[in-house]
Symmetry: C2
């Protein structure tokens, strides 16, 4: 805040010079754990005080509960596929007024430009967006990402007022073996918040990871893991996104054992728009926490001040003088359905205009080489590796099978489809080819440029012509999702922003998603969960046990390509 604004705020507080007053509220004080009946005075986006006030504009809370604006401690905006500005509106409606975002996905496509884009697009939103700088771009060396982000590349963002720290340190192997590049990044952020990501890490290796620096974890899946990580000094995010619902059992045990919650907070990580609209966002986690026995006051602290403290956000997470006027009115502390949301001193309306700032660098991210006619020819001989999807999981298994072929070339049938990952950042022409089971496709192909974490173009189909047509359809619209059958484009969701996000209104995104699911069903695609999400994770070489990248079929367990020769398919960088 500049000096003149600060002076005005000081004098306004001293003189009870309020603009907006929320009257007759039951105000939740997260510091003293009290509920105080009174008024809250606001001016210029700042809370002036709690007490007895009059103002130009008054809102009668009629005894409803006034809670600090909710904070999502860890989220990837890109996973919503919506532009940040539209994403903001969806979660503001649920009472989330601040998020700690990790632009890991767009950084893997666009590097520093992607981070700058996210900073620019979130500059003037009614949502407060802080960023953790992605620590693992690329995620691994076994695929071609659109960018590499070194400690040196990060320096330009280090002192941005909305950069809060270093993003989730996923590569724990590099971290606990003291890898030089990782240590450079950790050193760059020494003394500042550093997010961890260490599922099931325990004992000496967890100690080594903590010594290295990461001091949060959002991957805990059982109570014992929460307990050990808390003891080790980590702060814990309890996560409920679209997947990963196991945390409710953990909540029960936290309540039962009265485990201190001051170092716990909430996050969604990845949650789809339709899920958010159906059940809620951080307010949903609040509701589940209370339902599972955590006292409402503690749960509210977790949803507000605890996250603000973790990320050193001064002036966020409480209703107190000098704090940002982010507040949510709830009619009870059980359901957490917002009656009204106030962000930066303004009452939020769901039809708030969105702010789009087109940026050509980000809108032009799909760079494919011209396809060679034989680019999809997969030569097989004897037992061939097949990637088998495990129902209801992102996990895959490796099968070694005799597969159908003609003239030595794989011919999709019997539930086996062809899979290809086209490098799409440098137009190198590099293609990784493989075989997928567990996602039958008949007379068609589905494709997407959302392919974690390097976000190359992944396509699956039962014939090369439709696979090529699906690739063409995505190339034409700057990326997204597409379904093709018999040469015809059945459905498409364009995601022109880095090939990851739409700039269209939510209604268009949601109806395109419906159309995609319908088209996939026409091709006979049956998977236990959303086939598009499933496909988006088939290329991620850090989830067991076998993946396809643009470099070939990759054995995650042994950290090696299964057939080194496949790496030579296609061109070179």
């Amino acid at each position: 805040m500049e000096k003149s604004r600060l002076r005005a705020a000081i004098l306004n507080a001293a003189n009870q010079n309020a603009a907006l007053v929320v009257k007759n509220a039951n105000i939740v004080n997260v510091f003293t754990e009290e509920i105080i009946t009174g008024d809250v005075a606001v001016r210029d986006g700042i809370i002036l005080g709690v007490g007895s006030y009059t103002g130009r504009e008054e809102i009668d809370a009629k005894g409803a509960y006034l809670v600090p604006g909710l904070i999502d401690g860890h989220v990837h905006i890109e996973s919503s596929m919506a532009h940040p500005s539209r994403f903001a509106n969806v979660i503001l409606e649920q009472g989330t007024t601040t998020i700690i975002a990790d632009p890991h996905e767009i950084a893997n496509v666009c590097g520093a430009d992607g981070i700058q884009y996210m900073l620019d697009q979130t500059e003037w939103l009614p949502l407060s967006v802080f960023f953790m700088l992605p620590s693992c771009v690329p995620c691994t060396a076994f695929e071609t990402s659109g960018a590499k982000l070194t400690a040196k590349d990060m320096e330009q963002f280090l002192h941005h007022p909305r950069v809060a720290g270093l993003g989730e340190v996923m590569d724990y192997v590099a971290t606990i073996s003291g890898d030089g590049e990782m240590l450079d990044k950790l050193e760059l952020f020494r003394g500042r918040p550093v997010d961890g990501h260490a599922p099931l890490l325990t004992g000496d290796l967890l100690n080594a990871y903590c010594v290295a620096g990461p001091h949060t974890d959002h991957e805990c899946s059982n109570y014992q893991e929460v307990l050990e990580k808390l003891r080790s000094g980590m702060r814990i995010h309890l996560r409920i996104g679209s997947a990963n619902r196991g945390i409710e059992e953990v909540m029960k045990k936290i309540a039962e054992h009265r485990l201190p919650t001051r170092r716990m907070m909430f996050c969604t990580d990845d949650k789809h728009l339709e899920n958010i609209r159906e059940e809620g966002h951080i307010n949903y986690i609040l509701r589940r926490a209370v339902a599972n026995g955590i006292p409402a006051m503690q749960a509210i602290q977790m949803a507000t001040i605890n996250a603000a403290n973790t990320y050193a956000l001064k002036g966020y997470g409480a209703i107190a003088p000098g704090y940002r006027a982010d507040m949510v009115l709830f009619d009870n502390l059980r359901d957490f359905n917002p009656v009204m949301v106030i962000s930066g001193g303004n009452v939020f309306h769901p039809d708030t205009d969105v702010l789009l700032k087109p940026d050509p660098k980000i809108y032009n991210s799909v760079h494919l080489a011209p396809r060679k006619p034989d680019a999809l020819e997969l030569r097989v001989c004897g037992k061939t590796p097949v990637i088998r999807l495990v129902p209801n999981e992102l996990l895959t298994e490796l099968d070694m099978l005799e597969v159908p072929s003609e003239n030595g070339l794989f011919t999709p049938k019997d539930g086996l489809v062809k899979l290809a990952v086209f490098e799409r950042h440098y137009a190198s022409g590099r293609v990784g080819l493989g075989i997928l089971s567990g996602m039958p496709i008949k007379n068609g192909a589905i494709a997407t440029t959302v392919a974690h974490d390097s976000h190359n173009l992944i396509v699956a189909g039962d014939n090369d012509a439709d696979m090529f047509a699906a690739i063409d359809a995505l190339e034409a619209c700057g990326g997204g999702y597409a379904v093709v059958s018999g040469g015809k484009l059945l459905a498409r969701l364009p995601l022109p922003v880095a090939g990851l996000m739409s700039d269209a209104p939510l209604s268009k995104i949601l109806s395109a998603q419906q159309a995609l699911l319908k088209a996939a069903a026409e091709l006979g695609v049956t998977t236990s969960s959303d086939p598009f999400i499933t496909l988006s994770f088939v290329a991620l070489p850090v989830i067991p046990s076998v993946r396809l990248t643009d470099m070939g079929v990759f054995d995650v367990t042994n950290m090696a390509f299964i057939d080194a020769k496949r790496m030579e398919t296609g061109g070179n960088l």
Copy 2:
């Protein structure tokens, strides 16, 4: 920590490669609020982990309680009159391993040089010393301090790794009226810790103060004040120094009302060496907190992790992997008498060598003009202002009396002594003269260069010759305390470091203090408390109700000099 050390620490943790192991301890975990039986592994000053370990050196704790090293959240080292290195040894012996120091006193004498001196002298101590940069130098415009410290002057220290934030914002009047120079300092530290100092501030004015930025307070003297300030978002220091013992009643009420303590911590502010050695330091506050009903676990959190969190000290305040190996062994959690203190991985021994780094800029701080023969002549006529000491308080009252005189000049008698403050920073020759009651002195004078907060030379006596002799005695030794009678120097404590601190061993300081008290008694000096401490506060123009500065007799209540003409006594700057 540089990269190679960090890598070594990571690998040592992963491989259980410990140097020192504290075995069989009951380890207090301040995160989970558990006591865990086990071993703590240490190497290169860092905790590697808690579990089951062997090491080159092993200490058998035999079931004693291992607590994180204690933290003093707010202290002025200068008030101990000992060199920082010797002060460190005294408090380390009591289990305090980290302090947040405010070099307000030396900065008022030596400015930025004084701050640099304190940074230099504390660089290699076994005590971790962090600094808050003094925000109020000078304290007021009604006296001549040795330096003025603007926001611009502070910039050079802003990114020093041991500068934690902005020191106590004492001038709350300037703050809540939006004074430009104060706002510049607050802006400079925006987002970082800023200590407050706002005794009894309440309501709208407290709100305005919080909006301005300070977010701690160590001046609370009653429970209601603690509650209101906590609600307003301030973090609270419970202080027990040499004075200010009222906080025990507050502790009782905190326990009774179960007020959440996560935003409370402990501090001493000013505590004399002999008091520390007699009863303890932060461990004494711990003992009193537990005796007054606060659960031991909460009290320990207040003495450790809560303070570390307030000042954003990563790696301090807990026993966990990656934390600095600062630990104290107590045989019970009631008395808190340390059995052993470990600082930075080393067992502390009370006879640890001190580190002195002489600095000529700091050792030569007493600059007096040659005294004019008539410098102490106080012309009186009719009712004259007399500064009356209030027994057992630092407060004073103003009396207007007919005083004894000869030829129009005041002659000390009947319990009235002459008082003078000599400007000692710029050799201006400026002298403020006054009359003091409540400290009878017979046939002599006492003088000191410790005169809060500007630390000019203050002298009191019943005859001019001894007063001049006492001044000479202090000028000769670079400042300190002196007692003179009949032209003879009876006792002297030289404080050559800025005229505030000794560089001598503690035993010498303590024996000189004894000699001073004895000499004062010989002069018939009887005050309710230590006459030297009393004299040191007679010049402080922010404590009611009347003071003497080098500019004259000052009415604190009305913020004005009582006799403007007195300001013209002596020379000009």
